[in-house]
C-alpha cells in the first residue's frame, strides 16, 4: 500500500508523517510519533482512552484515520503540561488520587480540558455527563469528578 503524506499541527508543533491509508490517528500518534499518552482501550470509540482534541472538538483518535489529520490541529495529553509544570487538571488528579491504574487518565484529562474550555463552571451533573464518554474501571468516578471540580475552581480564579 502506498503511504499517505500528512502535514499537520500537534500540540502547537508542525509535524509531517507518512502513514498507511487505513491506519488510525491513534496508531500514528503512538507508533510513528512516540506520543503514547493516548491509549487504546477498546479501539471502537466506546471507552475514551484515546481521546484527543481535533480542531477544537473532542474525538476518539481510534475513530480518526491518520490521513484525516492533514491540515488540522491536534491536541493530545502531551501538550497539557508546560515543561515540568503540570496543568491544573493534572495536579488536581494527583491531589485527589483520581487515578489508579492510569490507562484512562490521559483520556479523562483531555476530555476534562475540553469540558472546562467550553464550560468553565460546570455542575457535578454536567461534569458527569461531559465525561460519560470516558470509562474508568478503578476509581468509581467520584475522585475524578472531585478533581475536575477543584481544578475548575482554581482555573476560574486564575
Amino acid at each position: 500500500m502506498a503511504g499517505v503524506a500528512v502535514s499537520t499541527t500537534i500540540n502547537g508543533d508542525h509535524v509531517e508523517y507518512l502513514c498507511q491509508p487505513d491506519e488510525t490517528l491513534l496508531d500514528v500518534l503512538r507508533d510513528r510519533l512516540g506520543l503514547t499518552g493516548a491509549k487504546e482501550g477498546c479501539g471502537t470509540g466506546d471507552c475514551g482512552a484515546c481521546s484527543i482534541i481535533l480542531d477544537n472538538r473532542l474525538v476518539c483518535s481510534c475513530l480518526v484515520l491518520g490521513a484525516e489529520a492533514e491540515g488540522r490541529i491536534v491536541e493530545t495529553v502531551e501538550g497539557m503540561a508546560h515543561g515540568e509544570k503540570l496543568h491544573t487538571l493534572q495536579q488536581k488528579f494527583l491531589e485527589h488520587a483520581a487515578l489508579q491504574c492510569g490507562i484512562c487518565t490521559p483520556g479523562f484529562l483531555i476530555a476534562a480540558k475540553d469540558l472546562l474550555a467550553k464550560n468553565p463552571d460546570p455542575s457535578e451533573e454536567e461534569i458527569r455527563f461531559g465525561l460519560a464518554g470516558n470509562l474508568c474501571r478503578c476509581t468509581g468516578y467520584d475522585k475524578i469528578v472531585r478533581a475536575v471540580q477543584d481544578a475548575a475552581n482554581v482555573m476560574k480564579g486564575a
Binding site: Q20, P21, R57, L63, L65, G133
Partner: protein, 286 residues
C-alpha cells in the same frame, strides 16, 4: 487501499462510480472505522467527503435548513435556529454516542448506516426530512424513509452520495419530539424509539401529524394510522390511547438481548404517547 479526499461532489461521485471492489464514504467514521477494525469491511477505496465545499455547513435556505452530510451532530446542537425549529431532530442527533462520538458522527451517516435503531432517523422521518442524493446521473431529492431498505442496506446505487439532509421551515403552531428507551441514562442503542411531529390549529386541534418508530421493524416505520389517530382531534386521553394502541400494533420487532417483542410493542406505544405530548406542548397546545 486508497484514501482520497476530493474537493467536489462531482469528483467524489466519479471516484465511487469508477471504483472496482469495495468502496466506502468517510464523513465522521464512527461506524466505518468500527466496522474496519472489526474486520467486517475492508474497503479498497475510502472517499473522505469532508473537504468538499459546503458539506460541513448547516445552511438556512428560503425553505428551511440544509444540513451538509459531513456536519457533526455536535454542531447541530450548537445551531440555535435549528434547535428552535426542530428540537426533536436535534435531541435525537444529540443522543448518538458520547461527546467524543458527537464530535464526528453525522445524521447522514446515521441514516446510511441503516441500523433499525438509528436515533436520528425516526425524528427526521417524523419531521418530513429529505435527502439530496448526488450521483452519476445528477441529483435527486428523496424522502429520508426511502433511504434504508433493511438492516445495513440502503436504496442508494453505486456512485451515489447523500450530500445534505433538508428540513423545511417548521410550520406555525408545530412541534416535534423524539424519545427512545434504553436501560441506562445515556450512551446506549435504542431498544425502541418514537418521533412525532404535529401541527395544531388555533383551537388546539391537530391538523397534521407524522409518527415514526425506530427499532420496531427492519427499517424505520412511518405509521400513517398513528397520524390518523391524531388528526382532527385535540391531544386528549382518548387520542393518546388510540395512538399508543396503533403504534403497538404497527411494530414488527424482533426478540433480542435488548428487548422482547412484547416489551418493544408496549414501549413503542408509551414513547409515542410521551413524544406526542411533548410535541403538542411545543406546538403551543394545552
Amino acid at each position: 487501499m486508497r484514501y482520497i479526499r476530493p474537493l467536489s461532489i462531482e469528483d467524489a461521485v466519479g471516484l465511487l462510480a469508477g471504483a472496482s471492489g469495495t468502496s466506502a464514504i468517510l464523513a465522521g467514521g464512527s461506524d466505518l472505522l468500527v466496522r474496519m477494525k472489526g474486520g467486517f469491511v475492508e474497503p479498497d477505496l475510502i472517499v473522505d467527503i469532508k473537504a468538499i465545499a459546503g458539506l460541513s455547513e448547516i445552511r438556512e435556505t428560503a425553505d428551511g435548513f440544509s444540513i451538509g452530510a459531513a456536519v457533526p451532530c455536535a454542531v447541530l446542537g450548537e445551531n440555535s435556529a435549528l434547535k428552535k425549529a426542530w428540537p426533536g431532530v436535534v435531541e435525537a442527533a444529540k443522543l448518538i454516542g458520547s461527546k467524543q462520538v458527537q464530535g464526528r458522527c453525522t445524521i447522514t451517516g446515521n441514516l446510511c448506516n441503516a441500523s433499525p435503531a438509528a436515533d436520528s432517523v425516526p425524528a427526521l422521518v417524523a419531521a418530513g426530512a429529505k435527502a439530496v442524493v448526488a450521483g452519476p446521473s445528477g441529483k435527486r431529492t428523496i424522502a429520508v424513509e426511502a433511504v434504508p431498505i433493511g438492516p445495513g442496506k440502503t436504496s442508494l446505487s453505486k456512485g451515489e452520495i447523500i450530500e445534505a439532509i433538508l428540513l423545511d421551515s417548521q410550520a406555525p403552531r408545530s412541534g416535534d419530539a423524539y424519545l427512545r428507551f434504553i436501560p441506562r441514562t445515556e450512551m446506549d442503542i435504542a431498544v425502541v424509539s418514537a418521533g412525532v411531529n404535529l401541527t395544531i390549529d388555533e383551537h388546539g386541534v391537530i391538523t397534521a401529524a407524522r409518527v415514526a418508530l425506530g427499532a420496531a421493524a427492519p427499517t424505520v416505520l412511518l405509521v400513517a394510522e398513528a397520524a390518523e389517530a391524531l388528526i382532527g382531534r385535540k391531544l386528549d386521553e382518548a387520542a393518546l390511547e388510540r395512538l399508543a394502541k396503533v403504534c403497538a400494533g404497527a411494530c414488527r420487532p424482533i426478540d433480542d438481548k435488548r428487548g422482547t417483542i412484547e416489551f418493544r410493542r408496549k414501549v413503542a406505544g408509551v414513547l409515542a404517547r410521551r413524544a406526542a405530548t411533548t410535541a403538542y406542548a411545543r406546538a403551543g397546545g394545552k
